[in-house]
């Protein structure tokens, strides 16, 4: 009787990180095929938040659209409406006054800081757990964000879906008390943001979890269509605010931080350095708000509907996630014929299929967090 040991290979273990998951940053489904702790293959499923905004925009007028579009990328709402309004103003050739341009940039930069704070806080939740050190980082970041939201409430009336931008100008003016509050905010935020940057970048366990994880090579970053802090982490110097300046960004003095390796550590450090640069821009705005009108559309009491001439155009701005663009086809009426949103998170998220195979499960969470997807933007 010979004893035979029959060894069977059961194949990969398929684990579902389903749409409801504490750390997929929203509704995203990933199916991981595991061998031990290593991921061999993944399948990704999107579309759990598809709200058909592009179809809805074929029924609403140009003036009704900015508040609807603000719900797209819900961490920095005014960048969406800023991009759309600039695209319409480009077709219609409307000139916006310098004062309203300053106010638009002020709100956009404050929301950039708040969006990067949320990204850092939820990254802490991913790495450390909701019952642990990550929760402390999360709560500290949200505490600072509350100060920014207080200023937004003072300027516009609501905390984050502010309907501040209108075609031709802004809706509300900046009062003198608001300027004092913003000065106080800058004084409070500056040391705190540098403190958090130091605290996280020198933490041993953070470095162990994020260095050399999820490296995006320069070639992949160029070809994948990604943009924003993700490709700047690999060393590509492309920022819409510097390469194709819009609004009044060319009047301000700020730097674009670049990374070297392209791993998750670099991407997080770049976001924190961008916070400090945005605070510099806010300081320069406050020192010199020009006087003037905030609307350029007349008559103000009963404005006419915006009717752009026939044609198509594309305009893009820099949102905290990358290049957010609007492609509008207009047929001369007050309702767009076709509006396409070029979503940065959609192209950035497609890198997931190339970065995840070959890593551990714990790394997959770290990589997904450093790509910073917002699913309102991915699925529109």
């Amino acid at each position: 009787m010979e004893d035979r040991i029959i060894e069977r290979d059961f194949g990969d273990l398929a684990v579902n990180m389903g749409p409801q998951h504490p750390s997929t940053h929203g509704v995203f489904r990933l199916k991981l095929y595991l061998q031990g702790e290593r991921i061999n293959k993944i399948e990704s499923f999107l579309g759990y938040l598809h709200r058909g905004v592009e179809k809805l925009s074929e029924k609403l007028t140009y003036d009704q659209l900015p508040p609807v579009l603000e719900r797209d990328d819900y961490l920095s709402p005014t960048s969406n409406s800023l991009g759309f309004i600039n695209a319409v103003e480009k077709i219609c050739e409307i000139e916006v006054s310098r004062k309203s341009s300053y106010i638009r940039v002020l709100v956009a930069e404050l929301q950039r800081i708040s969006s990067h704070l949320v990204a850092l806080g939820t990254y802490g939740l991913d790495l450390g757990g909701a019952l642990g050190g990550g929760a402390s980082l999360f709560l500290y970041c949200f505490r600072e964000r509350e100060k920014i939201l207080d200023v937004m409430e003072d300027l516009t009336g609501t905390r984050f879906h502010t309907n501040m931008n209108q075609i031709g100008g802004v809706r509300y003016d900046v009062k003198t008390e608001s300027i004092n509050k913003i000065k106080k905010l800058i004084k409070e935020l500056k040391p705190v943001l540098e403190d958090y940057a130091n605290m996280v970048s020198k933490d041993e366990i953070f470095m162990k979890r994020t260095k050399n994880i999820g490296i995006i090579s320069k070639k992949l970053a160029e070809e994948s269509g990604g943009s924003g802090p993700i490709v700047r982490g690999s060393g590509i110097n492309f920022d819409v605010r510097k390469n194709k300046p819009y609004e009044c960004y060319s009047e301000f003095d700020f730097n674009i931080p670049l990374g070297i390796n392209g791993d998750a550590y670099d991407r997080t450090i770049i976001r924190m350095q961008e916070n400090i640069e945005s605070l510099k821009i806010v300081e320069q705005i406050i020192q010199g708000i020009p006087s003037g009108d905030i609307h350029s559309r007349k008559p103000l009491k009963s404005p006419k509907l915006t009717r752009p001439p026939k044609g198509s155009s594309y305009f893009s701005i820099e949102s905290p996630r990358g290049e957010l663009g609007f492609f509008i086809v207009s047929d001369g009426t007050a309702i767009p014929y076709r509006m396409k949103i070029r979503a940065p998170s959609f192209s950035n998220l497609s890198l997931v299929e190339k970065l995840l195979p070959g890593t551990f499960i714990a790394d997959s969470v770290a990589i997904l967090g450093s790509l910073d997807p917002v699913f309102g933007d991915v699925d529109r």
Partner: protein, 333 residues
């Protein structure tokens, strides 16, 4: 109320003794107080309202004061706060999660997207309100509701639990008997206009050579691929960028009767998901694509939503439990 109700029924004979009513009612009050003081919500956020919910758990409007800790596993959670828009694809998962929650459970619908669908209510892929799928106890209005409104909703729920409510509210006004498919409504004909795009047009067969030439010249950044539905044909638009020279190139292709074209996914790796989206929403097939499946809509969806003759109202009803299933929940809870 799960086990407590069953065991309370067993001591029905005990109730007949004088004074026993006081014992039972005090115990019930004690358990209701315990349930309302230690509500554990399931960490479940869909869209913008989830960010305000996270802000409610943060240091300024602390919800841990009221005894709430978020738990990740549905078996250990009592409360499901649905915050954000519910889509057709997500509705089945919400129902599965609700079924997996144990014991006495409650639902708060926070934000106007979860209450009624908000301004998305007539869109093909949105469920107009989460109470089509699961029974809801408290509605918190707002877009998004401020943290004070969230806390108000939770205090309202605590009042309801304190009065002893542990079975869900049934929205029984219009539940269908069987699962139904709505007939495709006949819509008014939509006027499609003639071609409005004025930038460069190339021929359909030259696309591969043209894009290879552009890539060799430095245009490696594919910004988007999209399509527009004009009256005799669909026009595809491609936009490519060059990072070093700050230039963009936009070119278009007219597709006639035959809606197929070569895929760019060998040349640009970012073209993968962009082409899947155009296939999903317009119906154009890309030859040579590695994995041409729907990306935004569920796999068994019929029709291509962004074409002009597709009606905006829902094509078929999302998952909605029938009257029999609701009755089953009532008796088995």
């Amino acid at each position: 109320m799960g086990n407590v109700n069953k065991s309370l029924k067993d001591i029905g004979s005990f109730m007949k003794l004088p004074g026993a009513n006081l014992f039972i009612s005090s115990t019930k009050d004690l358990f209701n107080w315990a349930q309302k003081s230690s509500l554990w919500p399931l960490s479940f956020g869909l869209a913008c309202c989830a960010i305000e919910m996270m802000a409610t758990f943060s240091s300024r409007y602390d919800l841990d004061r009221l005894g709430m800790i978020t738990r990740a596993s549905p078996r250990q959670a009592d409360l499901m706060i649905v915050a954000g828009t519910v889509t057709v694809k997500m509705a089945e998962r919400i129902k599965t999660l609700y079924d997996q929650m144990a014991g006495p459970k409650w639902v708060i619908a926070a934000g106007s997207c979860a209450i009624s669908g908000d301004h998305y209510r007539h869109i093909y892929s949105v469920v107009p309100g989460v109470d089509w799928v699961i029974p809801v106890d408290v509605y918190v209005p707002g877009c998004p509701p401020t943290p004070e409104a969230f806390i108000d909703g939770i205090l309202e729920l605590q009042k309801i639990i304190g009065k002893g409510k542990t079975s869900p509210t049934y929205n029984t006004s219009s539940i269908p008997e069987e699962k139904t498919l709505s007939p495709l409504e006949v819509a008014k004909p939509v006027k499609k206009s003639k071609n409005l795009i004025e930038s460069k047009f190339i021929d359909k067969n030259e696309i591969l050579n043209f894009s290879k030439e552009l890539k060799n010249n430095g245009f490696t950044y594919l910004k988007f691929i999209t399509a527009t539905d004009f009256d005799s044909n669909i026009v595809l638009t491609y936009l490519l960028g060059n990072n070093t020279r700050n230039k963009d190139v936009e070119f278009n292709i007219q597709l006639g009767e035959d809606l197929t074209i070569d895929s760019l996914s060998d040349i640009y790796s970012g073209a993968d998901w962009q082409e899947r989206e155009v296939f999903d929403l317009f119906g154009i097939r890309f030859i040579g694509h590695p994995n041409l499946k729907r990306i935004m809509m569920p796999d068994e969806w019929i029709g291509h939503p962004l074409r002009k003759d597709y009606v905006m109202d829902a094509h078929f009803y999302p998952y909605r439990p029938t009257r029999k299933e609701y009755e089953k929940w009532k008796t088995e809870l």
